[in-house]
Symmetry: C2
Subunit: 349 residues, 2 copies
């Protein structure tokens, strides 16, 4: 049985901030039959995760390829891949059967022909919405959880600063930190988001970096007693200002550098005299390194917070394959709040 | 009994590279008698430790004061203080008696009037020369030892890069790393020092940074398989080049930033994309934080290496109070090799 299958590509490598015209939705013909006993599995995709790190795979020279063998470049004209949730429609592999809900690294397409190695796990939609497995119970949740608890090793009462605080990870770090008993200030890019962080998410305070001229003075105003922990998702000049305002034995966890992804000139400088005298630790990390030892704890703790309602889930969902380019571009111009997802079907059934 | 006591001061705050004319040797009259039962102790100083970190205390705004309450500013016209070895000549404190050899934080003077709290410990000159307690068995040795073993957590066969490799700390880090079984390359500032590192200290390789135009390409030449550990004593552009050449899970221990101490414009920028994807950890540290848990291990291991002759001690000793300014200035113009010390007496007896 042949179907028409829409998928998304980049037309060419993207070196700076992405534009919608850099992308194209193409159509191919796909056979939905698979050979019994083959490893071929066909998934009908329901939800595509839209993540800023993908921009690094879209460059002609991808800085990530050097370091991560798993992070292959995205090739212009070929379907982009990334975290996707789908439903198995045909399987030649005995471990998966028609109707299974699966999370994996699949193409940004209506249907993906995949192998078992591309599937991360089967999902169950009985307790939580499926989309949670792309956000709060997925990679972003793990990033917030291990970055905050394992890398930053917080103590109650410590002062925590979160940049890109309205992004998928920032929203969760801030909430974990509040639930743990820290003082939390977030930085974001609009007045509405500032209000949202304070009123809806319980951040102790928040500010709009676009309204601030001297970030170091701004941070001194919000942290008169200094910053103990900085969860960095933006990089650039903000890290410089944080180092100047950090307390001794301060910790910086860096999971993203959105400012630098699209403009390498935005790299900040590092004042090492402060780093030494304040004994600051700066750590870059990738949540997948922590899967084996920390995933089950993360799921247990986070699921409990979801059941009690203490952790709020913020999702920003667009509809249809045609919305993928604008959804992705929106990550870099400040238009999204929370986990960005594209929903491909009207109904999961 | 009154004696004439020479001591060294800065004439004014020093903001950039120090010059001999920034210093002055002054003379005061000092009474060598102390009251029985008082805490007053008078020490005749034998050896003054000359350390680059002191420049941070000589600035009008000392970046270290903010972070380290113990690191008070050096006041123009008042005697400078720092690590010194001396012999007690009079004591009102029953724990110390005339003739005791002591290591402490004393004035850069012929005689210092001190309290018990300024004395770190009594010394014994029977096995090792006293000067070792200012270098290989002192603060610099601890810095090399804890920085390499505790912060960098090396594994045998890892590739180690050491900047300021001919300085007090660099010489020891390189030797510890070789003895541990790592591949070690040092960077220094002259051809003679390059030869010295390779031929006398057993570094696998070394280069003169002044002869290199593009540090990142240089490092790629010396580390075709990448750098696992960087022991940073210089800061600035070198750290930038190292990050570009680092392997995944690379570690950077920063104990000094000599390039930045005297010229804040030399601050390097930090490429966070590499820091994240390579999961790099950067840690500033101060060896005194590790005294309680690591000093006895450090002394035991290092003393054994000294007994077997596996660890070479390189000292650079000047004679007399008048040589203090040039000794200090020399730390910043590349003229010293190994631990810089000023000897104040002809004979320890």
């Amino acid at each position: 049985m042949e179907v028409s299958n829409k998928y998304v590509v980049i037309k060419h490598h993207i070196e700076e901030a992405p534009k919608e015209s850099d992308f194209e939705v193409k159509t191919e013909s796909l056979n939905l039959l698979v050979d019994e006993g083959s490893d071929d599995i066909i998934v009908k995709n329901l939800y595509i995760s839209i993540d800023p790190f993908q921009i690094n795979r879209m460059k002609s020279f991808s800085p990530s390829q050097d370091a991560l063998s798993s992070s292959t470049a995205i090739i212009p004209g070929k379907a982009i891949d990334g975290p996707v949730i789908g439903k198995v429609v045909a399987s030649g592999n005995s471990k998966f059967e028609k109707g299974d809900l699966v999370l994996g690294v699949f193409t940004w397409a209506e249907y993906s022909l995949v192998k078992e190695t591309s599937i991360l796990r089967k999902l169950d939609s009985s307790e939580f919405p499926l989309t949670y497995h792309l956000g709060v119970l997925g990679y972003g949740g793990m990033t917030a959880y291990v970055g905050f608890f394992e890398l930053c090793k917080p103590e109650r009462g410590e002062k925590v600063f979160v940049s890109t605080a309205c992004g998928n990870v920032g929203i969760l770090v801030g909430q974990y930190a509040k639930l743990f008993g820290c003082y939390v200030v977030g930085c974001t890019g609009s007045h509405n988001k500032v209000v949202f962080l304070k009123e809806k998410l319980g951040f102790d305070d928040a500010f709009n970096y676009k309204e601030e001229k001297d970030l170091s003075s701004t941070l001194k105003r919000y942290f008169p007693e200094g910053i103990d922990i900085y969860f960095d998702n933006v990089g650039g000049k903000m890290l410089e200002a944080v180092i100047a305002n950090m307390n001794t034995f301060g910790r910086v966890a860096i999971c993203g550098a959105t400012a630098e992804y699209t403009d390498l000139r935005k790299t900040g400088s590092l004042d090492l005299v402060n780093v030494i005298y304040k004994r600051i630790t700066i750590k870059g990390f990738i949540a997948t390194d922590f899967m084996i030892h920390h995933f089950s704890n993360f799921m247990k703790k986070t699921s409990n917070y979801l059941r009690t309602g203490e952790l709020k889930v913020i999702e920003d969902i667009s509809l249809g394959m045609e919305s993928v380019p604008s959804a992705f571009v929106g990550l870099f111009n400040g238009s999204n709040v929370g986990k960005k997802i594209v929903r491909l079907v009207e109904d999961e059934e």
